[in-house]
Symmetry: C2
Subunit: 305 residues, 2 copies
Protein backbone atom coordinates (compact mmCIF):
# COMPACT_ATOMS: atom_id res chain seq x y z
CA UNK A 1 0.00 0.00 0.00
CA UNK A 2 3.01 2.29 0.07
CA UNK A 3 4.15 3.01 -3.45
CA UNK A 4 1.00 4.57 -4.81
CA UNK A 5 2.79 7.88 -5.27
CA UNK A 6 4.68 6.63 -8.31
CA UNK A 7 1.61 5.22 -9.99
CA UNK A 8 -0.53 8.19 -9.14
CA UNK A 9 2.21 10.61 -10.16
CA UNK A 10 2.49 8.72 -13.42
CA UNK A 11 -1.21 8.97 -14.16
CA UNK A 12 -1.21 12.57 -13.00
CA UNK A 13 1.65 13.48 -15.32
CA UNK A 14 0.02 11.92 -18.33
CA UNK A 15 -3.51 13.12 -17.79
CA UNK A 16 -3.10 16.54 -16.21
CA UNK A 17 -5.07 15.61 -13.12
CA UNK A 18 -5.30 18.47 -10.70
CA UNK A 19 -6.40 17.13 -7.37
CA UNK A 20 -4.22 14.05 -6.87
CA UNK A 21 -1.40 14.47 -4.35
CA UNK A 22 -1.13 14.87 -0.60
CA UNK A 23 -2.43 12.17 1.69
CA UNK A 24 -6.03 12.80 0.68
CA UNK A 25 -7.77 14.25 -2.33
CA UNK A 26 -9.28 17.62 -1.38
CA UNK A 27 -12.59 18.47 -3.07
CA UNK A 28 -14.65 21.62 -2.37
CA UNK A 29 -17.83 20.63 -0.53
CA UNK A 30 -19.52 24.00 0.09
CA UNK A 31 -18.55 27.55 1.08
CA UNK A 32 -17.56 26.32 4.56
CA UNK A 33 -15.87 22.99 3.97
CA UNK A 34 -13.69 20.80 1.80
CA UNK A 35 -14.16 17.07 1.57
CA UNK A 36 -11.17 14.72 1.98
CA UNK A 37 -10.98 11.30 0.29
CA UNK A 38 -8.47 8.55 0.94
CA UNK A 39 -8.16 4.85 0.13
CA UNK A 40 -5.70 2.19 1.31
CA UNK A 41 -5.33 -1.27 -0.15
CA UNK A 42 -3.98 -3.99 2.16
CA UNK A 43 -3.08 -7.38 0.73
CA UNK A 44 -2.23 -10.50 2.72
CA UNK A 45 1.46 -11.47 2.68
CA UNK A 46 2.37 -8.04 1.30
CA UNK A 47 0.95 -5.62 3.84
CA UNK A 48 0.17 -8.05 6.64
CA UNK A 49 0.42 -11.70 7.67
CA UNK A 50 -2.48 -13.48 9.31
CA UNK A 51 -0.08 -15.53 11.46
CA UNK A 52 1.28 -12.36 13.09
CA UNK A 53 -1.93 -10.57 13.93
CA UNK A 54 -5.53 -11.22 14.95
CA UNK A 55 -8.68 -10.50 12.92
CA UNK A 56 -9.62 -7.79 15.46
CA UNK A 57 -6.23 -6.05 15.20
CA UNK A 58 -6.37 -6.29 11.41
CA UNK A 59 -9.79 -4.61 11.40
CA UNK A 60 -8.34 -1.86 13.59
CA UNK A 61 -5.31 -1.36 11.35
CA UNK A 62 -7.30 -1.35 8.10
CA UNK A 63 -9.22 1.67 9.34
CA UNK A 64 -6.27 3.24 11.21
CA UNK A 65 -4.11 3.62 8.09
CA UNK A 66 -6.88 5.54 6.31
CA UNK A 67 -7.70 7.65 9.36
CA UNK A 68 -4.00 8.52 9.49
CA UNK A 69 -4.30 9.99 5.98
CA UNK A 70 -7.12 12.22 7.22
CA UNK A 71 -5.01 13.17 10.27
CA UNK A 72 -2.18 14.01 7.85
CA UNK A 73 -4.25 16.93 6.55
CA UNK A 74 -5.69 18.04 9.89
CA UNK A 75 -9.10 16.72 8.86
CA UNK A 76 -12.05 15.16 10.64
CA UNK A 77 -13.10 11.68 9.44
CA UNK A 78 -16.82 11.22 8.74
CA UNK A 79 -17.69 8.20 6.60
CA UNK A 80 -16.04 4.95 5.57
CA UNK A 81 -16.47 2.11 3.10
CA UNK A 82 -14.82 -1.29 3.18
CA UNK A 83 -14.18 -3.77 0.37
CA UNK A 84 -13.07 -7.25 1.34
CA UNK A 85 -11.87 -10.07 -0.89
CA UNK A 86 -11.96 -13.14 1.32
CA UNK A 87 -10.75 -16.72 0.79
CA UNK A 88 -13.45 -19.32 1.36
CA UNK A 89 -11.63 -20.90 4.33
CA UNK A 90 -11.83 -17.59 6.24
CA UNK A 91 -15.43 -16.93 5.23
CA UNK A 92 -16.47 -20.05 7.10
CA UNK A 93 -14.89 -18.84 10.36
CA UNK A 94 -15.69 -15.93 12.67
CA UNK A 95 -12.99 -13.91 10.89
CA UNK A 96 -15.31 -11.25 9.46
CA UNK A 97 -17.12 -10.75 12.76
CA UNK A 98 -13.87 -10.22 14.65
CA UNK A 99 -12.40 -8.07 11.89
CA UNK A 100 -15.46 -5.86 11.93
CA UNK A 101 -15.36 -5.66 15.73
CA UNK A 102 -11.84 -4.20 15.61
CA UNK A 103 -12.81 -1.90 12.77
CA UNK A 104 -15.94 -0.73 14.54
CA UNK A 105 -14.28 -0.08 17.92
CA UNK A 106 -11.85 2.37 16.30
CA UNK A 107 -14.57 3.87 14.09
CA UNK A 108 -16.72 4.59 17.17
CA UNK A 109 -13.85 6.43 18.81
CA UNK A 110 -13.83 8.99 16.00
CA UNK A 111 -17.55 8.90 15.10
CA UNK A 112 -16.86 7.35 11.71
CA UNK A 113 -19.91 5.85 10.05
CA UNK A 114 -19.74 2.79 7.76
CA UNK A 115 -21.86 3.70 4.74
CA UNK A 116 -21.11 0.92 2.28
CA UNK A 117 -18.81 -1.75 1.02
CA UNK A 118 -18.38 -4.75 -1.20
CA UNK A 119 -17.30 -8.29 -0.62
CA UNK A 120 -16.06 -10.94 -3.02
CA UNK A 121 -14.62 -14.40 -2.75
CA UNK A 122 -10.84 -14.31 -3.28
CA UNK A 123 -8.99 -17.38 -4.62
CA UNK A 124 -5.77 -16.73 -2.66
CA UNK A 125 -4.99 -13.71 -0.46
CA UNK A 126 -7.27 -11.83 1.88
CA UNK A 127 -7.56 -8.34 0.41
CA UNK A 128 -8.93 -5.24 2.14
CA UNK A 129 -9.62 -1.84 0.61
CA UNK A 130 -10.31 0.84 3.21
CA UNK A 131 -11.97 4.07 2.08
CA UNK A 132 -12.48 7.08 4.35
CA UNK A 133 -14.17 10.40 3.65
CA UNK A 134 -13.39 13.36 5.90
CA UNK A 135 -13.85 17.09 6.11
CA UNK A 136 -11.76 20.18 6.75
CA UNK A 137 -12.64 23.87 6.87
CA UNK A 138 -12.58 25.27 3.31
CA UNK A 139 -9.07 25.86 2.03
CA UNK A 140 -7.46 24.96 5.34
CA UNK A 141 -6.52 21.28 4.96
CA UNK A 142 -2.79 21.21 5.68
CA UNK A 143 -0.81 20.28 2.57
CA UNK A 144 2.64 18.82 2.09
CA UNK A 145 3.58 21.84 0.04
CA UNK A 146 3.61 24.66 2.62
CA UNK A 147 7.02 24.24 4.29
CA UNK A 148 9.30 27.32 4.19
CA UNK A 149 13.05 27.71 4.82
CA UNK A 150 13.54 28.48 8.50
CA UNK A 151 10.52 26.42 9.62
CA UNK A 152 11.09 23.92 12.39
CA UNK A 153 10.44 20.22 11.68
CA UNK A 154 8.43 18.31 14.32
CA UNK A 155 7.21 14.77 14.86
CA UNK A 156 4.68 13.36 17.27
CA UNK A 157 5.41 10.27 19.37
CA UNK A 158 8.41 7.98 19.00
CA UNK A 159 9.95 6.73 15.76
CA UNK A 160 10.98 3.27 14.59
CA UNK A 161 8.73 1.27 16.89
CA UNK A 162 6.65 -0.18 14.07
CA UNK A 163 9.79 -1.21 12.17
CA UNK A 164 11.19 -2.87 15.30
CA UNK A 165 7.85 -4.60 15.82
CA UNK A 166 7.93 -5.91 12.25
CA UNK A 167 11.46 -7.23 12.71
CA UNK A 168 10.44 -8.99 15.93
CA UNK A 169 7.44 -10.58 14.22
CA UNK A 170 9.63 -11.69 11.32
CA UNK A 171 11.86 -13.37 13.90
CA UNK A 172 9.10 -15.32 15.56
CA UNK A 173 8.10 -13.01 18.43
CA UNK A 174 4.40 -13.02 19.23
CA UNK A 175 2.03 -10.38 20.43
CA UNK A 176 0.99 -11.05 24.02
CA UNK A 177 1.07 -9.94 27.67
CA UNK A 178 3.56 -7.52 29.25
CA UNK A 179 2.29 -4.08 28.21
CA UNK A 180 5.33 -2.39 29.80
CA UNK A 181 7.80 -4.51 27.82
CA UNK A 182 9.40 -2.36 25.08
CA UNK A 183 9.45 -5.27 22.61
CA UNK A 184 5.74 -5.88 23.17
CA UNK A 185 5.14 -2.14 22.77
CA UNK A 186 6.94 -2.24 19.41
CA UNK A 187 4.84 -5.18 18.24
CA UNK A 188 1.69 -3.35 19.34
CA UNK A 189 2.87 -0.25 17.44
CA UNK A 190 3.17 -2.38 14.28
CA UNK A 191 -0.13 -4.22 14.69
CA UNK A 192 -2.30 -1.56 16.30
CA UNK A 193 -1.21 1.91 15.19
CA UNK A 194 -3.16 4.86 16.57
CA UNK A 195 -4.04 7.53 13.99
CA UNK A 196 -3.18 11.03 15.23
CA UNK A 197 -6.54 12.55 14.35
CA UNK A 198 -6.77 14.66 17.49
CA UNK A 199 -3.31 16.16 17.11
CA UNK A 200 -3.86 16.82 13.39
CA UNK A 201 -7.08 18.72 14.14
CA UNK A 202 -5.29 20.72 16.84
CA UNK A 203 -2.62 21.72 14.30
CA UNK A 204 -5.30 22.83 11.84
CA UNK A 205 -7.54 24.63 14.31
CA UNK A 206 -4.65 26.61 15.78
CA UNK A 207 -2.91 27.14 12.43
CA UNK A 208 0.32 25.76 13.87
CA UNK A 209 1.66 23.84 10.85
CA UNK A 210 2.89 25.03 7.45
CA UNK A 211 3.13 21.47 6.06
CA UNK A 212 1.91 18.10 7.34
CA UNK A 213 2.23 14.42 6.41
CA UNK A 214 1.86 11.14 8.28
CA UNK A 215 4.80 8.82 8.81
CA UNK A 216 3.64 5.87 6.75
CA UNK A 217 6.66 5.33 4.50
CA UNK A 218 9.33 6.30 7.05
CA UNK A 219 10.83 9.61 8.15
CA UNK A 220 13.42 9.95 5.38
CA UNK A 221 10.88 9.07 2.71
CA UNK A 222 8.02 11.18 4.05
CA UNK A 223 10.27 14.18 4.67
CA UNK A 224 11.43 13.80 1.06
CA UNK A 225 7.77 14.06 -0.01
CA UNK A 226 7.34 17.27 2.00
CA UNK A 227 10.59 18.77 0.67
CA UNK A 228 9.66 17.85 -2.91
CA UNK A 229 6.14 19.29 -2.64
CA UNK A 230 7.39 22.42 -0.84
CA UNK A 231 10.49 22.88 -3.02
CA UNK A 232 12.76 23.13 0.02
CA UNK A 233 15.61 21.25 1.69
CA UNK A 234 15.85 20.07 5.29
CA UNK A 235 18.33 19.13 7.96
CA UNK A 236 17.41 16.57 10.63
CA UNK A 237 19.35 16.55 13.90
CA UNK A 238 20.14 12.93 14.75
CA UNK A 239 20.55 13.77 18.44
CA UNK A 240 17.00 15.13 18.61
CA UNK A 241 15.21 12.11 17.13
CA UNK A 242 12.72 10.55 19.59
CA UNK A 243 13.69 6.94 18.91
CA UNK A 244 11.33 4.27 20.26
CA UNK A 245 12.67 2.10 23.04
CA UNK A 246 14.74 -0.71 21.50
CA UNK A 247 14.66 0.72 17.96
CA UNK A 248 17.75 1.76 16.01
CA UNK A 249 18.53 5.02 14.20
CA UNK A 250 17.98 3.20 10.90
CA UNK A 251 14.51 2.10 12.02
CA UNK A 252 13.65 5.65 13.09
CA UNK A 253 14.82 7.09 9.75
CA UNK A 254 13.75 4.40 7.32
CA UNK A 255 11.08 2.33 9.00
CA UNK A 256 7.50 2.83 7.89
CA UNK A 257 4.10 2.52 9.53
CA UNK A 258 4.65 4.49 12.74
CA UNK A 259 1.64 6.58 11.65
CA UNK A 260 2.88 9.51 13.70
CA UNK A 261 2.68 13.01 12.21
CA UNK A 262 5.57 14.93 10.67
CA UNK A 263 4.99 18.66 10.29
CA UNK A 264 6.74 21.96 9.80
CA UNK A 265 6.00 25.20 11.61
CA UNK A 266 7.36 28.74 11.94
CA UNK A 267 7.19 28.14 15.72
CA UNK A 268 10.23 26.85 17.61
CA UNK A 269 8.32 24.75 20.12
CA UNK A 270 4.98 22.94 20.03
CA UNK A 271 3.55 21.06 22.98
CA UNK A 272 3.09 17.36 22.31
CA UNK A 273 5.67 17.21 19.52
CA UNK A 274 9.47 16.97 19.25
CA UNK A 275 11.52 19.37 17.14
CA UNK A 276 13.89 17.25 15.05
CA UNK A 277 15.31 19.70 12.53
CA UNK A 278 14.92 22.73 10.29
CA UNK A 279 13.70 23.40 6.76
CA UNK A 280 16.26 25.12 4.55
CA UNK A 281 16.77 26.02 0.91
CA UNK A 282 16.11 23.45 -1.82
CA UNK A 283 19.75 23.63 -2.94
CA UNK A 284 20.91 22.21 0.39
CA UNK A 285 18.98 18.99 -0.14
CA UNK A 286 18.04 16.60 2.64
CA UNK A 287 20.70 16.20 5.33
CA UNK A 288 21.22 14.39 8.62
CA UNK A 289 23.26 16.23 11.25
CA UNK A 290 25.38 13.59 13.01
CA UNK A 291 28.09 13.92 15.66
CA UNK A 292 30.55 13.91 12.72
CA UNK A 293 28.71 16.74 10.97
CA UNK A 294 26.05 16.70 8.22
CA UNK A 295 25.64 13.84 5.73
CA UNK A 296 23.08 13.32 2.95
CA UNK A 297 19.84 11.62 4.02
CA UNK A 298 18.24 9.40 1.39
CA UNK A 299 14.62 8.28 1.20
CA UNK A 300 14.56 4.67 2.32
CA UNK A 301 10.86 3.91 2.70
CA UNK A 302 9.23 0.68 1.70
CA UNK A 303 8.61 0.20 -2.02
CA UNK A 304 6.54 -2.51 -3.60
CA UNK A 305 8.47 -3.01 -6.84
Amino acid sequence: MRSEFEFIQNIKDRHQLKVIGDDCAVIPLDSQSDQLFTVDLLIENIDFRLAWTTPTLLGHKALAVSLSDIAAMGGTPKYAMLSIGIPEKLWKTSFLDEFYEGWHTLASEFDVELIGGDISRAPSELTIDSIVVGEAPRGRAIRRSGANPGDSIFVTGKLGGAALGLLLLENGEKLGGGSGDPLQMAIAKQLKPMPQITFGKLLLQNELASALIDLSDGLSSDLTHVCGASDVGAIVDESKLPIANGATLEMALGGGEDFELLFTSPLLEIKGATKIGTINERSQGLQLLTSDGPRPLHAEGFRHF
Copy 2:
Protein backbone atom coordinates in the same frame (compact mmCIF):
# COMPACT_ATOMS: atom_id res chain seq x y z
CA MET B 1 -18.67 -8.60 -6.32
CA ARG B 2 -22.27 -9.74 -6.24
CA SER B 3 -23.09 -11.06 -2.80
CA GLU B 4 -22.29 -7.98 -0.76
CA PHE B 5 -25.94 -7.65 0.23
CA GLU B 6 -25.70 -10.57 2.64
CA PHE B 7 -22.57 -9.29 4.32
CA ILE B 8 -23.81 -5.73 4.42
CA GLN B 9 -27.23 -6.83 5.64
CA ASN B 10 -25.52 -8.86 8.33
CA ILE B 11 -23.44 -5.92 9.56
CA LYS B 12 -26.48 -3.66 9.25
CA ASP B 13 -28.62 -5.97 11.36
CA ARG B 14 -26.07 -6.21 14.13
CA HIS B 15 -25.02 -2.61 14.30
CA GLN B 16 -28.19 -0.72 13.47
CA LEU B 17 -26.64 1.05 10.52
CA LYS B 18 -29.06 3.36 8.82
CA VAL B 19 -27.66 4.31 5.47
CA ILE B 20 -26.54 0.97 4.03
CA GLY B 21 -28.81 -0.48 1.36
CA ASP B 22 -29.76 0.39 -2.20
CA ASP B 23 -27.12 0.46 -4.90
CA CYS B 24 -25.38 3.46 -3.35
CA ALA B 25 -25.15 4.99 0.10
CA VAL B 26 -27.08 8.27 0.13
CA ILE B 27 -25.60 11.00 2.35
CA PRO B 28 -26.98 14.56 2.63
CA LEU B 29 -24.53 16.98 1.00
CA ASP B 30 -26.29 20.34 1.37
CA SER B 31 -29.82 21.75 1.10
CA GLN B 32 -29.83 21.09 -2.65
CA SER B 33 -28.09 17.74 -3.02
CA ASP B 34 -27.38 14.29 -1.71
CA GLN B 35 -24.09 12.54 -2.28
CA LEU B 36 -24.03 8.93 -3.57
CA PHE B 37 -21.21 6.50 -2.73
CA THR B 38 -20.56 3.11 -4.29
CA VAL B 39 -17.70 0.62 -4.38
CA ASP B 40 -17.17 -2.56 -6.42
CA LEU B 41 -14.45 -5.11 -5.85
CA LEU B 42 -13.34 -7.17 -8.87
CA ILE B 43 -10.99 -10.10 -8.38
CA GLU B 44 -9.23 -12.06 -11.11
CA ASN B 45 -10.61 -15.56 -11.71
CA ILE B 46 -13.73 -14.70 -9.69
CA ASP B 47 -15.13 -11.63 -11.41
CA PHE B 48 -13.07 -11.72 -14.60
CA ARG B 49 -10.42 -13.71 -16.45
CA LEU B 50 -7.48 -12.02 -18.12
CA ALA B 51 -7.51 -14.58 -20.93
CA TRP B 52 -11.04 -13.53 -21.95
CA THR B 53 -10.68 -9.79 -21.99
CA THR B 54 -8.16 -7.03 -22.70
CA PRO B 55 -6.64 -4.58 -20.20
CA THR B 56 -8.54 -1.74 -21.92
CA LEU B 57 -11.90 -3.54 -21.66
CA LEU B 58 -11.19 -4.43 -18.04
CA GLY B 59 -10.51 -0.77 -17.25
CA HIS B 60 -13.81 0.10 -18.90
CA LYS B 61 -15.74 -2.55 -16.99
CA ALA B 62 -14.19 -1.70 -13.60
CA LEU B 63 -15.63 1.80 -13.89
CA ALA B 64 -18.83 0.74 -15.68
CA VAL B 65 -20.04 -1.48 -12.83
CA SER B 66 -19.74 1.39 -10.35
CA LEU B 67 -21.30 3.91 -12.72
CA SER B 68 -24.18 1.47 -13.08
CA ASP B 69 -24.76 1.73 -9.31
CA ILE B 70 -25.03 5.51 -9.68
CA ALA B 71 -27.40 5.04 -12.65
CA ALA B 72 -29.46 2.70 -10.45
CA MET B 73 -30.42 5.69 -8.29
CA GLY B 74 -30.85 8.22 -11.10
CA GLY B 75 -27.66 9.96 -9.99
CA THR B 76 -24.89 11.86 -11.73
CA PRO B 77 -21.35 10.50 -11.24
CA LYS B 78 -18.71 13.05 -10.22
CA TYR B 79 -15.53 11.57 -8.75
CA ALA B 80 -13.78 8.22 -8.68
CA MET B 81 -10.95 6.42 -6.91
CA LEU B 82 -9.22 3.22 -7.95
CA SER B 83 -7.28 0.68 -5.89
CA ILE B 84 -5.27 -1.91 -7.75
CA GLY B 85 -3.47 -4.96 -6.38
CA ILE B 86 -1.22 -6.09 -9.21
CA PRO B 87 0.99 -9.15 -9.66
CA GLU B 88 4.60 -8.33 -10.49
CA LYS B 89 4.43 -9.97 -13.94
CA LEU B 90 1.68 -7.54 -14.99
CA TRP B 91 3.38 -4.51 -13.44
CA LYS B 92 6.27 -4.99 -15.85
CA THR B 93 4.00 -4.85 -18.90
CA SER B 94 1.87 -2.05 -20.37
CA PHE B 95 -1.13 -3.50 -18.52
CA LEU B 96 -1.72 -0.49 -16.25
CA ASP B 97 -1.42 1.99 -19.12
CA GLU B 98 -3.99 0.11 -21.20
CA PHE B 99 -6.25 -0.50 -18.20
CA TYR B 100 -6.24 3.19 -17.38
CA GLU B 101 -6.87 4.08 -21.02
CA GLY B 102 -10.10 2.05 -20.98
CA TRP B 103 -11.07 3.47 -17.59
CA HIS B 104 -10.36 7.02 -18.68
CA THR B 105 -12.24 6.83 -21.97
CA LEU B 106 -15.44 5.87 -20.13
CA ALA B 107 -14.79 8.39 -17.34
CA SER B 108 -14.46 11.19 -19.91
CA GLU B 109 -17.80 10.31 -21.41
CA PHE B 110 -19.53 11.08 -18.11
CA ASP B 111 -17.16 13.81 -16.82
CA VAL B 112 -15.93 11.61 -13.99
CA GLU B 113 -12.73 12.83 -12.36
CA LEU B 114 -10.12 10.46 -10.86
CA ILE B 115 -9.24 11.97 -7.49
CA GLY B 116 -7.16 9.27 -5.84
CA GLY B 117 -6.24 5.66 -5.48
CA ASP B 118 -3.84 3.15 -4.09
CA ILE B 119 -1.70 0.44 -5.59
CA SER B 120 -0.05 -2.57 -4.02
CA ARG B 121 1.83 -5.58 -5.23
CA ALA B 122 -0.40 -8.68 -5.16
CA PRO B 123 1.11 -12.16 -4.80
CA SER B 124 -1.53 -13.91 -6.92
CA GLU B 125 -4.65 -12.37 -8.42
CA LEU B 126 -5.09 -8.96 -10.00
CA THR B 127 -7.55 -7.13 -7.75
CA ILE B 128 -9.42 -3.93 -8.55
CA ASP B 129 -11.56 -1.83 -6.22
CA SER B 130 -13.61 0.80 -8.03
CA ILE B 131 -15.07 3.67 -6.01
CA VAL B 132 -17.44 6.26 -7.45
CA VAL B 133 -19.01 9.32 -5.81
CA GLY B 134 -22.09 10.86 -7.40
CA GLU B 135 -24.83 13.34 -6.70
CA ALA B 136 -28.61 13.53 -6.86
CA PRO B 137 -31.05 16.32 -6.02
CA ARG B 138 -31.77 16.23 -2.28
CA GLY B 139 -34.17 13.45 -1.31
CA ARG B 140 -34.80 12.43 -4.90
CA ALA B 141 -32.37 9.55 -5.49
CA ILE B 142 -34.61 6.69 -6.65
CA ARG B 143 -34.66 3.89 -4.08
CA ARG B 144 -35.47 0.21 -4.36
CA SER B 145 -38.20 0.67 -1.80
CA GLY B 146 -40.78 2.80 -3.63
CA ALA B 147 -42.66 0.23 -5.74
CA ASN B 148 -46.44 0.11 -5.22
CA PRO B 149 -49.04 -2.52 -6.17
CA GLY B 150 -50.39 -1.65 -9.61
CA ASP B 151 -47.10 -0.12 -10.82
CA SER B 152 -45.75 -1.35 -14.14
CA ILE B 153 -42.33 -3.04 -14.22
CA PHE B 154 -39.94 -1.90 -16.97
CA VAL B 155 -36.45 -2.77 -18.16
CA THR B 156 -34.09 -0.98 -20.52
CA GLY B 157 -32.31 -2.81 -23.34
CA LYS B 158 -32.20 -6.57 -23.83
CA LEU B 159 -31.73 -9.24 -21.18
CA GLY B 160 -29.43 -12.24 -20.94
CA GLY B 161 -26.79 -11.02 -23.38
CA ALA B 162 -24.05 -10.81 -20.75
CA ALA B 163 -24.85 -14.34 -19.51
CA LEU B 164 -24.73 -15.66 -23.08
CA GLY B 165 -21.43 -13.84 -23.58
CA LEU B 166 -20.02 -15.44 -20.45
CA LEU B 167 -21.10 -18.89 -21.61
CA LEU B 168 -19.47 -18.31 -25.00
CA LEU B 169 -16.22 -17.18 -23.36
CA GLU B 170 -16.29 -20.21 -21.07
CA ASN B 171 -16.56 -22.35 -24.19
CA GLY B 172 -13.57 -20.84 -25.94
CA GLU B 173 -15.16 -18.10 -28.05
CA LYS B 174 -13.07 -14.97 -28.40
CA LEU B 175 -13.95 -11.33 -28.68
CA GLY B 176 -13.21 -10.08 -32.18
CA GLY B 177 -14.57 -8.64 -35.45
CA GLY B 178 -18.16 -8.96 -36.71
CA SER B 179 -20.04 -6.26 -34.80
CA GLY B 180 -23.37 -7.39 -36.31
CA ASP B 181 -22.88 -11.00 -35.17
CA PRO B 182 -25.24 -11.72 -32.22
CA LEU B 183 -22.66 -13.94 -30.50
CA GLN B 184 -20.04 -11.19 -30.73
CA MET B 185 -22.63 -8.71 -29.43
CA ALA B 186 -23.21 -10.98 -26.41
CA ILE B 187 -19.49 -11.20 -25.70
CA ALA B 188 -19.22 -7.41 -25.98
CA LYS B 189 -22.16 -7.07 -23.57
CA GLN B 190 -20.28 -9.22 -21.04
CA LEU B 191 -16.90 -7.52 -21.46
CA LYS B 192 -17.93 -3.92 -22.16
CA PRO B 193 -21.22 -3.13 -20.43
CA MET B 194 -22.59 0.39 -20.87
CA PRO B 195 -23.90 1.98 -17.65
CA GLN B 196 -27.35 3.52 -18.14
CA ILE B 197 -26.48 6.87 -16.55
CA THR B 198 -28.40 8.94 -19.09
CA PHE B 199 -31.59 6.91 -18.77
CA GLY B 200 -31.36 6.88 -14.97
CA LYS B 201 -31.08 10.67 -14.89
CA LEU B 202 -34.05 10.96 -17.24
CA LEU B 203 -36.14 8.82 -14.87
CA LEU B 204 -35.15 11.01 -11.92
CA GLN B 205 -35.56 14.37 -13.64
CA ASN B 206 -39.02 13.50 -14.95
CA GLU B 207 -40.08 11.64 -11.79
CA LEU B 208 -41.04 8.61 -13.88
CA ALA B 209 -39.94 5.79 -11.56
CA SER B 210 -41.22 4.69 -8.14
CA ALA B 211 -38.33 2.20 -7.63
CA LEU B 212 -35.09 1.60 -9.51
CA ILE B 213 -32.22 -0.92 -9.49
CA ASP B 214 -29.59 -2.02 -12.00
CA LEU B 215 -29.54 -5.54 -13.39
CA SER B 216 -26.26 -6.73 -11.95
CA ASP B 217 -27.36 -9.94 -10.24
CA GLY B 218 -30.00 -10.94 -12.80
CA LEU B 219 -33.67 -10.05 -13.27
CA SER B 220 -35.13 -12.57 -10.82
CA SER B 221 -32.62 -11.64 -8.14
CA ASP B 222 -32.77 -7.88 -8.62
CA LEU B 223 -36.57 -7.87 -8.81
CA THR B 224 -36.53 -9.83 -5.54
CA HIS B 225 -34.46 -7.01 -4.00
CA VAL B 226 -36.99 -4.42 -5.17
CA CYS B 227 -39.95 -6.48 -3.91
CA GLY B 228 -38.27 -7.07 -0.55
CA ALA B 229 -37.36 -3.40 -0.08
CA SER B 230 -40.81 -2.24 -1.24
CA ASP B 231 -42.74 -4.98 0.59
CA VAL B 232 -44.65 -5.95 -2.55
CA GLY B 233 -45.02 -8.88 -4.93
CA ALA B 234 -44.64 -8.92 -8.71
CA ILE B 235 -45.68 -10.80 -11.80
CA VAL B 236 -43.43 -10.88 -14.86
CA ASP B 237 -44.93 -11.70 -18.26
CA GLU B 238 -42.60 -14.14 -19.99
CA SER B 239 -43.95 -13.16 -23.41
CA LYS B 240 -42.96 -9.53 -22.86
CA LEU B 241 -39.30 -10.13 -21.90
CA PRO B 242 -36.87 -8.44 -24.33
CA ILE B 243 -34.48 -11.39 -24.62
CA ALA B 244 -31.12 -10.68 -26.25
CA ASN B 245 -30.48 -12.32 -29.60
CA GLY B 246 -29.28 -15.89 -28.99
CA ALA B 247 -29.96 -15.83 -25.22
CA THR B 248 -32.40 -18.16 -23.47
CA LEU B 249 -35.25 -17.40 -21.08
CA GLU B 250 -33.08 -18.72 -18.24
CA MET B 251 -30.27 -16.30 -19.15
CA ALA B 252 -32.74 -13.41 -19.29
CA LEU B 253 -34.20 -14.30 -15.88
CA GLY B 254 -31.12 -15.50 -14.00
CA GLY B 255 -28.08 -14.12 -15.80
CA GLY B 256 -26.23 -11.23 -14.18
CA GLU B 257 -24.18 -8.32 -15.44
CA ASP B 258 -26.45 -6.95 -18.16
CA PHE B 259 -26.23 -3.62 -16.28
CA GLU B 260 -29.54 -2.51 -17.73
CA LEU B 261 -32.04 -0.74 -15.47
CA LEU B 262 -35.11 -2.33 -13.88
CA PHE B 263 -37.70 0.11 -12.59
CA THR B 264 -41.31 0.45 -11.57
CA SER B 265 -43.67 3.25 -12.51
CA PRO B 266 -47.34 4.22 -12.17
CA LEU B 267 -47.22 4.88 -15.93
CA LEU B 268 -48.21 2.18 -18.43
CA GLU B 269 -45.70 3.10 -21.10
CA ILE B 270 -42.27 4.74 -21.05
CA LYS B 271 -40.26 5.51 -24.15
CA GLY B 272 -36.94 3.65 -24.29
CA ALA B 273 -38.04 0.89 -21.93
CA THR B 274 -40.06 -2.34 -22.18
CA LYS B 275 -42.93 -3.13 -19.82
CA ILE B 276 -42.39 -6.68 -18.56
CA GLY B 277 -44.89 -7.02 -15.72
CA THR B 278 -46.82 -5.54 -12.83
CA ILE B 279 -46.21 -5.01 -9.11
CA ASN B 280 -48.85 -6.59 -6.89
CA GLU B 281 -49.44 -7.34 -3.24
CA ARG B 282 -46.69 -8.86 -1.10
CA SER B 283 -48.83 -11.92 -0.41
CA GLN B 284 -48.78 -12.88 -4.09
CA GLY B 285 -44.99 -13.25 -4.07
CA LEU B 286 -42.87 -13.21 -7.20
CA GLN B 287 -44.44 -14.92 -10.22
CA LEU B 288 -43.67 -15.58 -13.86
CA LEU B 289 -46.67 -15.60 -16.22
CA THR B 290 -46.02 -18.35 -18.78
CA SER B 291 -48.19 -19.72 -21.57
CA ASP B 292 -49.29 -22.36 -19.03
CA GLY B 293 -50.26 -19.72 -16.47
CA PRO B 294 -48.32 -18.24 -13.51
CA ARG B 295 -45.49 -20.09 -11.73
CA PRO B 296 -43.24 -18.98 -8.85
CA LEU B 297 -40.09 -17.09 -9.89
CA HIS B 298 -37.06 -17.63 -7.66
CA ALA B 299 -34.00 -15.43 -7.32
CA GLU B 300 -31.21 -17.11 -9.23
CA GLY B 301 -28.46 -14.51 -9.34
CA PHE B 302 -24.80 -15.21 -8.90
CA ARG B 303 -23.62 -15.85 -5.33
CA HIS B 304 -20.03 -16.09 -4.18
CA PHE B 305 -20.44 -18.58 -1.35
